[in-house]
Point group: none
Chain length 409, copies 2
């Protein structure tokens, strides 16, 4: 049995908790981890940043590193966060369509099937441009609006569309008898016809029919509007059935996240999403205001990842310093256990998510405080917590708050 | 496949061992690991202790840390020791009744079913005190004696009782056709009637009947003797079927342990338990006297854990220093490989078992000696062996004695 499952059986009944309600905080600086590279003076943004509050906290905390999914594996945001939330990301699959819908803040429900969709250019029945010339987001959004107006329902199935960036949009199909297990209509290369959606298992027969009919009607609506004259779909998927944080770990959970994708991932895990402004200070205040209503709060800061993907070292440093400046707001709320880490690394020199281990700081009265070291890649590597898979982090956080029973007698 | 199983297939035939017989030693200082906490001056008992012999050995040894069961999981003594003995503690379950019987040094055999039992107070058919007012151990022991005299046999099943502390005792049922899979009679809270033992699978029908009859006869014997006028049972279980150390690893194994629980756990793994006095010196001499009869010796020192659970830092230091003083007795016996570690941490500031990694010292002519560092939490964290699950320790110990073949060609 894997540790995440063992832990579910060890969570104490609330009556046996040290307090009737505790406050655990998981502060995720997206993509915060970096690497030492000559292009950036062989130091990382965490090393370069001036972080007096983090420095002080680090000395009173246990440090370590997490590996998002497994050694050498670069995670997408979905698996990376599932791991942080204590699921085994190697076991839970989130379909592309689900992530897309969730990332556009759509209200995806159990039984729905969601698709990643985009406009394409069709000529004589052949897809000549799978991205329809990368239209401006506004142009594409206007077409999505017109599609939505014309195709609200197919048979008894409701069709819900939302525009994304450039040629991208997402579709949700809602009705009785839908199930995932249908092939892509996207041929995945130019010069091919649009594929028929095919049911890969009998339960998916209806959604395949609906998807094909949607394509037919979309081409009617878009006729003559080259280069956006047809649509393609892929990653058709339903919400995965994952037990909520409360079901698994007895934690009434909330999330503070400015970006739709992370709000959606939090909702997948059964968290209540709190409203907050986009700054670290606003996010941390939202936690502090609401801490008595929840046992666990996931706080997501996006800026570190965005700066890493832009290769913008100084901006990444700036986001870290902003977080440091606002950190006292969390500390003054006195959570029983606080973890600060990232969902993965996004090295500035790579401008991409990576597989590199991610620094971790864990603070609680039961932590093995190092007495020295900063919240940096190198000091965390030497920390008492060691390096481990991120799916174990929730176990450690709960252990540090006194919420887990012994395993065996 | 998990490492413990891989290793079983790699153990060399005795004819290929470096010597016809080797001596591996696993010295377990129960609960020795601790954490740096302001209440105890930010140092651990291992750091505070004066340990010239351990210090000298550490410089000539490889250091590291073990994690008992998994990250963030606090182990009971059963899983913690199974891990040290090279079993995967996540796969082997030891029932509460088994551990209780074994912990009272009872002779539990294959086919027996054992129960954790205690006296309770029954009034008008309702359990008003599940612990019968926590009677003095002598009072309870006398009642166990009277129960045993009156209930020696039910049908063809032998009933064997032994008193524990206060209200607690253990029962073994021995006879044909018994199997585990029967529910507790303990209602787990006051104000409820005693529950009927129920067979949770067909094979457990007989033991359920025997247990219920035992309760009826116990109430006859105890009638009018409030507050000890009835009994409750839970954790009814049979010995797990685990292959012995010799079957798995070809090691003729012995144990030196002063406490019944650890003698029992050693017997579960097929070790021969040697007699010895309670001090470290006596334990180590028992090993030295017997080393030529066995390939592997598990030596258990309880004092470190007991001191940790009492929050008694100085006593924990004292036990470590006592071990250090006696250590030359082991070293002079020149074991081929020696591991010194704990089964888990028991931080003085927590007064409980914990999940924190445990220091490990491994000495053999094949070890990657650090040349510096003491047997402390911090120095072991930086050691050449790294941090790993305790179930891998036996593999490492055997590898260091040259007992394992290559994996693959």
């Amino acid at each position: 049995m894997l540790s995440p499952q063992i832990v579910e059986g060890l969570v104490k009944d609330r009556a046996a908790w040290p307090r009737a309600q505790v406050s655990l905080v998981l502060l995720v600086l997206d993509g915060v981890g970096d690497i030492h590279h000559p292009d950036f003076g062989m130091r990382t943004p965490l090393e370069a940043a001036r972080t007096p509050n983090l420095d002080d906290l680090a000395r009173r905390s246990a440090l370590g590193r997490i590996i998002p999914v497994d050694h050498g594996i670069t995670p997408g945001s979905g698996p990376a966060h599932l791991g942080l939330f204590g699921y085994d990301p190697r076991q839970v699959e989130i379909g592309r369509g689900v992530l897309e819908a969730v990332g556009l803040d759509m209200d995806l429900r159990g039984g729905d099937v969601a698709a990643r969709a985009n406009f394409c250019t069709l000529k004589d029945g052949i897809v000549v441009d799978r991205r329809a010339g990368r239209p401006a987001t506004e142009v594409s959004a206007q077409k999505v609006g017109s599609l939505q107006q014309n195709v609200r329902r197919i048979e008894d199935v409701e069709v819900i569309l939302r525009a994304g960036k450039e040629h991208r949009f997402a579709a949700i199909f809602r009705g009785e008898g839908l199930a995932e297990g249908v092939s892509d209509t996207d041929p995945h290369e130019n010069g091919e016809p649009i594929r028929k959606a095919e049911a890969l298992r009998p339960e998916a027969a209806k959604i395949a029919r609906i998807v094909n009919e949607f394509h037919r009607r979309a081409q009617e609506v878009l006729a003559g509007q080259e280069p956006l004259n047809a649509v393609l779909m892929r990653g058709l998927a339903a919400l995965p059935h994952i037990p909520s944080m409360e079901q698994r770990l007895k934690l009434r959970s909330c999330a503070v996240a400015a970006y739709p994708m992370y709000r959606g991932l939090a909702r997948l895990a059964g968290m209540k999403v709190l409203e907050a402004g986009p700054t670290a200070e606003e996010a941390f205040r939202a936690y502090a205001r609401n801490k008595d209503r929840f046992d666990f709060c996931f706080i997501h800061v996006k800026g570190t990842d965005a700066a890493g993907e832009d290769g913008d070292f100084d901006r990444k440093v700036g986001v870290i310093e902003e977080v440091d400046g606002a950190l006292p707001i969390i500390l003054e709320a006195r959570p029983e256990a606080l973890a600060i880490t990232g969902d993965h690394s996004t090295p500035c020199c790579m401008r991409l998510h990576s597989w590199h281990p991610v620094p971790l700081l864990l603070h609680s009265p039961r932590c093995d405080a190092g007495g020295q070291g900063r919240f940096t890649e190198r000091d965390c590597q030497a920390g008492a917590l060691g390096t481990f898979l991120s799916m174990h982090l929730m176990s450690l956080l709960m252990a540090h708050a006194g919420l887990l029973d012994k395993f065996g007698a």
